[in-house]
Symmetry: none
Subunit: 85 residues, 4 copies
């Protein structure tokens, strides 16, 4: 292999290793998050509800309303009482 090819291969290897290292960190954090929910569950919280709340907080304000409006519209169209929700 020529030097040029070697250099390219090395560069590729380094980039891949950086990506892999970061991916590992990401996995670590994902595990930490998982632990938080395990702890919450152990303390008697409903993790499903917690995740819903986090999703709501994350979504831009208007988006939640918008989704609810569509849902209510569809429920009405089907003759279902959304009051039951």
């Amino acid at each position: 292999m020529s030097n040029v090819a070697n250099v390219a291969a090395d560069e590729l290897r380094l980039l891949i290793e950086r990506a892999e290292r970061l991916a590992d960190e990401k996995s670590g954090i994902a595990e930490d998050i998982s632990d938080v929910f395990k702890e919450a569950k152990a303390r008697g919280f409903d993790t499903k509800a917690m995740k819903t709340i986090i999703a709501i907080r994350k979504k831009e304000q208007g988006k939640v309303q918008e989704e609810m409006t569509v849902l209510e519209t569809y429920l009405s169209a089907l003759g279902m009482q959304y009051a039951m929700l």
Copy 2:
């Protein structure tokens, strides 16, 4: 291989093939369902809302209320207005 072993192997093969055939059918239906939603989307419906509605209709009545109650409780605990939903 003895006859007994052959019989067992044949039986195993038949069972596996039955399971595989059924799995194929299941995939076919899954595709059909997917097509329904594609069609719905093409007609301008919000498929996410549709799926939510289907989930609600499937869930036993009390369950939906129960989940909403927990969610509202948590939102209140966080000082969030669930009226915004």
Copy 3:
């Protein structure tokens, strides 16, 4: 005019019911599959191993191409660099 008017209620209902009907069929098949494994188990087969076998058989469709692709992938990653040579 209410929100109801905003959606073609009948169309929506029909689509949802089609999806629900198909979902029922899918569940039915899933049950059939489950029955096959129950039967296998009753006859003394190891169902966990059977499922593994089925997974392997499924994977090995297309396995050959996949193997051939690995080297090409590496070459591809370096490919544009080769232009530099």
Copy 4:
């Protein structure tokens, strides 16, 4: 007493905020990874191929055992039948 009293509000808030903070960190890392690929792309590498390579490298940890298991799986599926021989 309101529903609010039913949950330990502070505890809930802290858990949720911890989860959210970790989620932010995770996003940050995801962005870093994204940057690595942007950089790779800028240097002329094929990022799709790189990702494939990374996936392969990840899979091939533990690949050897897996290969060895296939025959054993078949034997296991038939295993209890052998007792009949």
